[in-house]
Amino acid sequence: MFEQFPIRMNLRTHARALAPLATLFALVIFFSIFTSGFFDLYTLNSVLKQASTRALVATGLTFVLLCCEIDLSVALVATLAGCQMGVLYKWMLDTGPAILSVTGPDGSITVTLVGAVLALLLPVLTGVLIGVINGLLTVWSRLPSFIITLAMMEIARGLASYLTKGAQYPDMPGVLPASANEGILIGADFELPYSVFVVGTIMLAAHFVLIYTRFGRYVYMTGGNREAARLAGVRTGFVVVGCLAICGMTASLGGLMNAGWINSAGINQNLNLLLEAIACVVLGGTSLFGGEGGIKNTLIGVLAFTVLDVGLGYVTWVDEFLRRSVMGLVLLSALLLNGQLAKIRQN
């Protein structure tokens, strides 16, 4: 019925949308040509595994960046979630009441299903709560979320230290290491990690929320022009709180996933996660200034970043100690390219 308004398809308007995808392909091709052993199903498996924590954290961060805020507490919220889970699980094993842990006939103690669910659920709820507090403080104080979440980052760090007292907690519900490290064997040599399904479900849900719900639209419009959204009756404060709460949730899920991946929970985890997650979102083309981008972008950004990360491991002609700098350089070029393409589109 609206054929008179064709969707404008041309390279110029889509240059920005395509740039992240081009970056991803360029990286894959680059590493395939210039390293040996990169183009392999085993690599695909490690990319997918390594991407899972970042993807979870970046998903929530996408909401926050879309509504023109930032959450610097994600990495430590993730760590706190892991620690909380580890400590909780240990407590259940040691002194938990009967509903949480049972002693088997051979004297071994196992945590019940209720206990396991609790050990996974409580950290996530904590993450949501931290996000809500981040949001309420940001909205109420009218300070930049940059400052609020920076302070929250330290609070989370302190809590995690206090809980763990510096110790490592290797016990956790079996589902975590299994989903992060194991997978379904497809054919003879490709294992599709279970984490792909977990992360995929959450990203799909996030995409759906952003594109097909009113809340999602409000996120974009609040980020695009907060005053215009407010005057149109959008409760922009609620939107900001919602985004930061979602971010807290995915950050803690990411923390659990990471603890599962390395089979241990402790304070010295997720050290680079904050900057990696932000890099993933921005590399995907989501604007730091709100209103543009989405989960599709973030997915591409996470894959591109992880391909870069994993790919550099195959590079033998760069000093091992310089790899981090090379990574920064590649990221920088990709971001500059994105920025230039965005400019072309505007003119």
């Binding site: 609206f2 308004f5 409000y218 419009m221 149109a232 409760r235």
Partner: protein, 494 residues
């Protein structure tokens, strides 16, 4: 000739904005530039001020052909542009603004504040302005900032001044002051391009006027012996005049509407803006709030619909006392607010349909938001408000000002509007767009909406308000209804 432009053409991705426009400006001339929105005024201004370097044609300035790559080069040649939204840095002092980018250096290359402030004072003296030059520029009213900006360009040695809508925010005495300064510049042999929608002011201030129609030069006429109708006739290329354009004679306002007020305010106060305001608006009535810039009527409009928080005030809605609404509550109640700044009314990066459905996503689109559903409701709406192009997928920021305003109004048409609050609804629009926008407002009023229009333009209120409240310095000075009133009368009370 101070400035000669020959056959200037410019097109944006295939769409012609200017075609073969030639313009001559004598030294010591104030030259008006008028045209409807989209006639090419701003493009021509941008070319003259160096903001657009990619065009066809030739520019000769003071006898030499010149080509500017950017505004700095233009300024170096002696061409200064004074924008409607002034470009000074509000947080820096007046003196710092006057010396922006070329601060005076003293010993050890440090800034010589004393000397800079002293010179700043003497620069301002040349434009008859006496200010505390150490105060931040932002603490002065717009009219003063404008004079400071002109003084700055003057001091930088500019020979040609391009003024974009210089009078749109000025009260009559401020305007007179500006005109005096312009006459002085003219006597000194400088040239001025005066771009404005206010035709009377063009006629008052300028020696000649150039009229652009659809990107082409229509005519350049001496203003002596020219009247407003003549100019409008040229501008509209012979099209019909709107009733509001023939606003010279007195107009009679109808008697006060009867019935229960839709909304009633009592003892509304906002520090620094207005004190102890009471008013009521009835369904089907348009109440105008008139005042000069800073009279407080603009802020009052913001407070009524929750955009700003009043310090104190009581409000009745359909006879019931209610707490002062938040914007979301106001929208729920059926209040529609159209602020003067379109930058705060639209998400310019978003497509039209997203802007149209924003306020009524729940009722008009439903639980699941899909582009096809949204376009199905947005397209007829854009059609109805006469947006051009009525394409729901176009980014709203790409539309002209008048069309953006139609999108703002269209947004509210998706729900039932009980109270429509408009702040300067036609600022910066051409005659045609003004008329179309105000027709939409009239439609909404005839459907039973109560309308509150605040404006600094008497013509707008005389043409569209049933009753007018005049405000001065935060207080209501006069209520006008059931009487004959003209522009002069309105301005007398303000």
């Amino acid at each position: 000739m101070l400035l000669t432009c020959e056959n200037i053409s410019k097109s944006y991705s295939g769409i012609e904005a200017l075609r073969d426009v030639s313009l001559e400006l004598r030294a010591g001339e104030i030259h008006g530039l008028v045209g409807a929105n989209g006639a090419g005024k701003s493009t021509l201004m941008k070319i003259l001020s160096g903001a657009l370097s990619d065009f066809e044609g030739r520019i000769t300035f003071q006898g030499k052909p010149i080509r500017m790559g950017n505004p700095h080069e233009a300024l170096a040649h002696g061409i200064a542009m004074v924008y409607q939204e002034l470009s000074g840095v509000g947080k820096l002092s007046v003196a710092e603004n006057l010396f922006l980018g070329r601060q005076l250096r003293g010993k050890f290359g440090l800034i010589d504040w004393k000397e800079m402030n002293r010179q700043a004072r003497s620069i301002l003296e040349t434009v008859n302005l006496e200010l505390e030059v150490t105060r931040p520029l932002g603490s002065f009213p717009l009219s003063t900032r404008q004079l400071v900006e002109i003084a700055r360009c003057l001091h930088a040695g500019s020979r040609l001044f391009i003024l974009d809508e210089p009078t749109s925010a000025l009260s009559p005495p401020e305007k007179e002051r500006l005109f005096q300064l312009l006459r002085r510049l003219k006597e000194e042999g400088r040239g001025i391009v005066f771009v404005s929608h206010f035709i009377e002011e063009i006629l008052e201030a300028c020696d000649r006027v150039t009229i652009l129609v659809d990107g082409r030069l229509r005519s350049t006429l001496p203003t002596a012996g020219l009247d407003k109708h003549g100019v409008i006739h040229e501008m509209l290329d012979g099209k019909d005049l709107g009733a509001e354009e023939a606003m010279e004679e007195a107009l009679s306002l109808p008697p006060k509407a009867a019935g229960e007020p839709l909304v009633k305010l009592d003892s509304f106060s906002l520090k620094g803006a207005f004190q102890d305001i009471g008013l009521e608006v009835r369904p089907g009535e348009a109440l105008g709030l008139y005042g000069f810039v800073g009279a407080g009527h603009q802020e009052l409009a913001h407070c009524v619909c929750g955009s700003m928080d009043a310090d104190a005030g009581e409000m009745w809605w359909k006879g019931q006392a209610i707490p002062l609404p938040t914007p979301s509550k106001a929208v729920e109640m059926g209040m529609a607010f159209v602020p003067a700044e379109r930058a705060t009314a639209l998400v310019s990066k978003a497509e039209n349909y997203k802007n149209i459905t924003l306020a009524h996503l729940d009722t008009a689109v439903g639980r699941w938001v899909t582009p096809s559903k949204e376009i199905a409701v947005a397209a007829p709406c854009l059609e109805k408000v006469g947006c051009n192009p009525p394409d729901p997928r176009v980014q709203t920021g790409e539309l002209s000002g008048g069309n953006q305003q139609k999108v703002v109004l269209g947004k509210w048409l998706l729900g039932e509007v009980q109270l429509l609050v408009l702040e300067e609804p036609t600022r910066g629009m051409d005659v045609g767009a003004k008329k179309e926008v105000m027709e939409l407002v009239r439609d909404m009023k005839e459907k039973g909406a109560a309308v509150l229009i605040t404006s600094c333009e008497p013509e707008l209120l005389l043409a569209h308000a049933d009753r007018i409240l005049v405000m001065r310095q935060g207080k209501i000075t006069k209520e006008l209804f059931d009487c004959s009133v003209d522009k002069a009368e309105l301005m007398r009370h303000a």
